[in-house]
């Protein structure tokens, strides 16, 4: 008997369980199937810093949220419509975010007295009526999995491990997801362990069949594919897109890619990814510390590689002096900061955008560094290429500020045409560049008239032997100089070089359909999605509001000041205490309105809708 199929426009599922339950993997696989099915989607993994916190406890809860729809969406969803809770801790940690009427799929096997005690449930919420306002689906996930695998030569513990696959099968039935994707994933993952593969496939199938036959679920759902631009798509996370962008940037420049890195959450995945692609000529150097990591990158840049260092905020603090050296040497270098909650160790696995001022000013002396910030997981690809382009063209270190949300979140990506990626020209100097008293000489700090960039000179180039360092240099000749006027000149030249990039970057993105808005919401980085969603909702509510977003923060794109002055009110939401807001106010003398939260989570569209509504009431 087939069950009723209900069509929905959008669904937000949160998978939650113990950090050892495989929730991230389950979420990833459900996401891949959803992507291939053709829905638009945004994901939000949310996991603890501890690898395996004590089992069954609140700090050990690991969650993965997926928003998918039959239309264009930009956030991972404010609140889930479905919660899959693998144990009491997962239920307790997430219930407060579940709206009335939401579906709760609960693994009843884990609701033992002991597990309930661990998280402070005096009574079993499945029995005390506290879940009345939800649609509770009780499923004995663990024992059903064990039962399904009884013919396999597995211990109970081993069989229980497949419960996430049972859950994935069940959810795949519930939302009509294709099963080929998780099946082919399992086939690859367990290619060398046929018994484990067979068990996982069986658990997956059993979950699907359970959905079809049980009375726990009376209906199931479908979400139709979302209309999208024609082309080939894949699903991609921010850190993966960023890694590919670096490889693409190096290819565009015809340079070997060199990564100096020290492991740090949430940036390590870029090191892992790039280390896999040595056939692209990529060299990865896992250094003894953050300083050595950027040191090696500077050495490689001096040698003519496209050099990169990847880290998070605490690592940037350690690299500061070396970034200053790169500013002084005027060598190309990409510094990638996957921001996380701070200060100090802070919240390693949670997102924040509070390193903007560190990137902007966190060095001794006047040491301007261009800053690029991607706005979505897929945009990390373009941002990485842009950072490489600016670094090489202007012979300067460039910051790329991503964050934990972009790094681990994912979305569908319309694959770019590799042939049409921007070309990057290293233009190494191969011969003396100046004539002095009839003799050809090298002036290592003779600048390009247009960009003010100095030449990039590789060791091994005959006749161009020269010495440079972090000591102030005479403009043009590069000789050590303590001359007051020269230092003033060099300081201004380094600043002017960076300022001049404003005409060479994409203008600031502005979305103001009728050009008649009074209010502008200005953001940067990963807040693009929530701000976009909030602006859409506000417009439907009759508010004339525009959205602008910065992908280059130093220098600001040339149109920034002019755009800001068009609006009566400018709201600047940030996941910090007002860093862009401070820069905008200082530079453009605009009386902006900050909206700031540092909860380690992306903004909810609804909270931004409220802010826009408040401001609109006072225009």
């Amino acid at each position: 008997m087939s069950k009723e199929l209900v069509t929905l426009g959008r669904v937000v599922i949160r998978f939650a369980g113990d950090s050892g339950d495989g929730m991230q993997l389950t979420g990833d696989q459900f996401t891949n199937a959803t992507a291939i099915f053709g829905n638009d989607l945004v994901t939000l993994p949310d996991f603890p810093a501890e690898i395996r916190a004590p089992q069954g406890t609140l700090p050990g809860v690991s969650a993965f949220q997926l928003h998918f729809a039959d239309h264009d969406i930009t956030t991972a969803g404010d609140s889930p419509t479905v919660l899959v809770a693998m144990n009491p801790a997962a239920l307790k940690a997430n219930l407060h975010e579940m709206p009335e009427g939401a579906d709760l799929i609960i693994n009843t096997d884990e609701f033992t007295k002991r597990n309930l005690d661990k998280v402070g449930y005096a009574n079993n919420p499945l029995e005390d009526g506290s879940l009345e306002k939800y649609r509770v689906h009780e499923v004995a996930l663990t024992s059903l999995t064990v039962e399904a695998l009884k013919d396999f030569d597995l211990t109970r513990k081993e069989a229980e491990r497949s419960k996430n696959m049972f859950a994935l099968g069940l959810l795949s039935w519930l939302y009509s997801r294709p099963m080929e994707t998780p099946k082919s994933f399992l086939a690859t993952k367990f290619a060398k362990k046929p018994e484990i593969l067979a068990a996982n496939l069986k658990a997956l199938e059993a979950g699907w069949s359970f959905g079809e036959t049980t009375e726990v679920f009376s209906v199931h759902y479908e979400v139709k594919p979302a209309p999208a631009r024609a082309g080939e798509y894949r699903n991609i996370s921010g850190n993966l897109a960023l890694s590919y962008g670096l490889i693409a940037g190096a290819q565009s420049a015809g340079l070997p890619l060199y990564l100096g890195s020290y492991p740090i959450t949430p940036a390590s995945d870029i090191l892992h990814e790039l280390s896999k692609h040595k056939n692209f000529g990529v060299r990865t150097f896992q250094a003894e510390d953050e300083i050595a990591a950027i040191g090696a990158a500077i050495g490689a840049a001096y040698g003519g590689s496209l050099a990169v260092t990847t880290t998070s905020g605490p690592g940037v603090a350690l690299k500061s002096e070396a970034i200053g050296l790169a500013v002084s040497l005027e060598l190309p270098l990409v510094v990638i900061d996957i921001q996380r909650g701070g200060p100090s160790t802070g919240l390693p696995t949670k997102t924040e955008q509070a390193d903007l001022l560190q990137a902007m000013f966190g060095r001794n002396g006047e040491a301007p560094v261009p800053i690029v910030a991607p706005r979505s997981p897929a945009h990390c690809f373009d941002a990485a290429i842009e950072a490489c382009r600016i670094a090489v063209k202007y012979r300067t270190p460039v910051f790329l500020l991503s964050d934990g949300y972009l790094a681990n979140g994912s979305e569908p990506w319309l694959l770019p045409d590799v042939a049409s990626l921007p070309k990057i020209e290293p233009n190494f100097l191969e011969a003396p560049n100046h004539e002095l008293n009839g003799v050809d000489v090298l002036w290592p700090f003779k600048r390009d008239d247009e960009t003010l960039a100095r030449p990039w000179i590789r060791p091994g180039t005959p006749g161009l032997e020269h010495r440079i360092g972090g000591i102030e240099k005479a403009n043009n000749t590069g000789a050590i100089s303590y001359d007051p006027a020269n230092h003033d000149l060099m300081t201004r030249l380094r600043q002017a070089k960076v300022d001049g990039i404003s005409d060479d970057v994409e203008p600031m993105f502005v979305d103001d359909p009728n050009g008649d808005s009074d209010i502008l919401v200005l953001g940067w980085g990963s807040t693009f999605g929530p701000i976009g969603a909030a602006v859409e909702i506000s417009r439907r509510n009759g508010i004339k509001v525009a959205q602008a977003h910065l992908s280059t923060l130093n220098p600001f794109p040339a149109n920034t000041g002019e755009v800001l002055k068009r609006y009566k009110k400018v709201i600047v939401p940030e996941m910090n205490l007002g860093q862009l807001n401070m820069l905008i106010r200082a530079k453009f003398l605009v009386d902006t309105i900050g909206f700031n939260k540092v909860r380690g989570l992306p903004f909810k569209a609804t909270e931004l809708v409220d802010v826009i509504k408040d401001v609109a009431a006072h225009v």
């Binding site: 024609a230 080939e232 590919y244 693409a248 040595k278 692209f280 250094a287 690809f381 060791p459 020269h466």
Partner: protein, 350 residues
């Protein structure tokens, strides 16, 4: 010429005969008159033509301190970086450019204090770098504070009642990090300096050469007993591979191995000269070279070995890194960007 330098086999050979003056830059040397650095600079400039490689393929990388000004005076490529980080920067350069001969110039403060971490990790990795550590047992550029090699109790600007720090022995530190080549020489002994540089340059992997160098302004005469012809022979143990380890004007003393394996200095009159051990720099086990490094007394300078303590073959990091890249290209073909970004799971919207 450079065929004898296995470490330089990937560095292009010079087509012209070079002399010391080819390596002198146009910069005026700005060390204090009488500084030991002058002798080292002249020694290096006189030795480099022996390498027989193109001078544009030689790079000197330094940190911060008096010694770190060295690259400015060399007519090669040079990078004067930041305090303590030269080994890290040079590692990035050497691992990305095997066609370069990369030298690091550092001092006792730069290498052993602020840059201690980079030094030991460069040594353990065995990147093809030649590190020249100028040890004058004092901070010179900051005008006279004690350094990590200063003797205990030393009165300096920052230790008016005497330093409480136990000094590092740079050779012991390097051997502790399992450096594959470790040697010591003295600024004023040109012949010895050049011979040590020759062996260091030939070594594949990281070579650490400690150079006892005099700071005549803030720590004058720190190594004087080792230079004074009246005392030097009784204090200096000249290590020569394959030769018995003896010292004293008439080879009256030497090094013997005790039954527990440890080394000690003994008089020939006590043990007989046949008991003196023959120096073998190629011993794999670092404990032998380490024991040699422990013979010297940090204050009296008694029993101070100079020469090559250790010279062993170990896999070279940059070679292995290149091998991995080559192997990846060979087995998987050159990278195909379009295929990479497509991945395995795509879908098409028409």
């Amino acid at each position: 010429m450079s065929d004898s330098f296995a470490s330089l086999k990937l560095v292009p050979k010079s087509e012209v005969t070079q002399s010391a003056k080819d390596f002198k830059s146009d910069q005026e040397v700005r060390w204090c008159p009488g500084c030991g650095d002058y002798a080292i600079l002249a020694g290096v400039q006189s030795f480099l033509p022996e390498l027989g490689v193109k001078k544009e393929n030689i790079v000197f990388v330094s940190g911060i301190g008096c010694s770190s000004r060295f690259p400015y005076y060399m007519n090669t490529y040079g990078l004067h970086s930041i305090h303590g980080r030269a080994p890290a920067i040079a590692s990035g350069l050497a691992t990305s450019r095997e066609d370069l001969s990369v030298w690091v110039i550092t001092g006792d403060g730069d290498a052993l204090s602020i840059g201690g971490n980079h030094l030991i990790h460069a040594l353990r990795r065995n990147v093809n770098l030649k590190i020249l550590l100028f040890n004058n047992r004092i901070y010179g550029l900051t005008k006279g504070q004690y350094s990590p090699t200063s003797e205990m109790g030393k009165i300096t600007k920052s230790t008016p009642m005497g330093s409480l720090d136990h000094p590092f022995n740079p050779i012991s530190v390097a051997i502790g990090a399992e450096a594959s080549f470790v040697a010591r020489t003295i600024d004023s002994d040109r012949k010895h300096l050049v011979e040590v540089l020759r062996q260091a340059a030939a070594h594949e992997g990281t070579a650490l050469v400690e150079i006892y160098q005099n700071c005549n302004i803030f720590n004058d005469g720190a190594w004087e007993p080792l230079k004074d012809s009246d005392t030097a022979d009784d204090l200096l143990i000249r290590l020569m591979h394959g030769e018995p380890i003896t010292f004293g004007k008439e080879a009256t003393h030497g090094v013997v191995r005790e039954s527990d394996g440890s080394l000690r200095v003994a008089a020939a009159s006590e043990v007989g000269s046949d008991a003196f051990i023959v120096h073998d720099a190629h011993v794999e086990d670092p404990s032998y070279a380490f024991a040699l490094s422990r013979l010297s007394h940090p204050e009296t300078l008694a029993n101070t070995p100079i020469g090559v303590f250790r010279d062993v073959n170990r896999p070279v990091y940059d070679r292995q890194m290149s091998d991995q890249v080559a192997h990846a290209k060979e087995t998987r073909g050159p990278g195909d960007l379009a295929a990479l970004i497509r991945g395995k799971d795509t879908w098409t919207v028409s």
